[in-house]
Symmetry: C2
Subunit: 150 residues, 2 copies
């Protein structure tokens, strides 16, 4: 393949990723609207539902989602406004914020339980293909994570 061919849009792995990611998020939107949250907010809730009733600080949350405080701080404030989370100062370390679920936030998990199945219905991929794609992507992420600090 020539250098010029390598510049064609359809040969870009990055574009496939970028467009695919947005397309899938688009499928989530109507489902998440019923919960009153956005897609990145949903990801935060996934982490909180997983570690609940433990609280989590912003740094750890950011490491989990690969997002920084510039993104998370306003997002978390919105979730707090919505009454889904609390943002308490950590007593041991006044710099840190402990993020935890409110009762409503914990309850929302019940409503979210059906989302994965709804989505799989809309993405007509075989389970095997689905898992393969996911594991290839996770592999890609691991590889990028491990090389980006060199």
């Amino acid at each position: 393949m020539s250098k010029a061919d390598l510049l064609k849009l359809d040969n870009q792995l990055c574009f496939a990723l970028y467009a695919g990611s947005r397309a899938v998020i688009r499928l989530y939107r109507p489902l998440l609207e019923k919960l009153g949250i956005t897609y990145p907010q949903y990801l935060v809730m996934l982490v909180l539902w997983e570690c609940s009733p433990e609280a989590i600080n912003v740094k750890t949350l950011g490491e989990r989602l690969l997002l920084d405080s510039g993104t998370l701080t306003p997002l978390l404030k919105r979730l707090e406004q919505s009454g889904l989370i609390e943002r308490k100062r950590c007593l041991d370390d006044e710099r840190a914020r402990l993020i935890s679920l409110t009762e409503n936030g914990a309850k929302l998990k019940g409503k979210a339980l059906c989302i994965p199945a709804s989505l799989i219905k809309e993405v007509p991929l075989e389970t095997a293909q689905f898992k393969q794609l996911r594991s290839h992507l996770q592999n890609l992420l691991n590889v990028l994570q491990s090389t980006e600090h060199k």
Copy 2:
């Protein structure tokens, strides 16, 4: 797998896509900075370099990149400001804008030619794996495209 397990972050195809996409875009950033453009602007340039010297209207560009005018209009204005493109009214249809490369915009392709190779060097995936992942993603996109209008 239980319903609750399906809500775990690491089981989400969507998160793998979302985080993977951002991680790859992060790799492009320093390379594109040298060209003075952002990643979405780069995608627009890829399309223009491909169809040049033909002009393209905003609608077609949007279909190619899966972006709407709300995203493209300001982005194209910035590319115009940077002197890389022109935004002319179409004579046959005064509603449409014809987007075309300026001389500088066309010349920038020369600087961009080395980007794919630079990137591949940073993503330590075998060529075969790379192509497989890309084609899986393109398949996913096709599937989503074809079902989203039903």
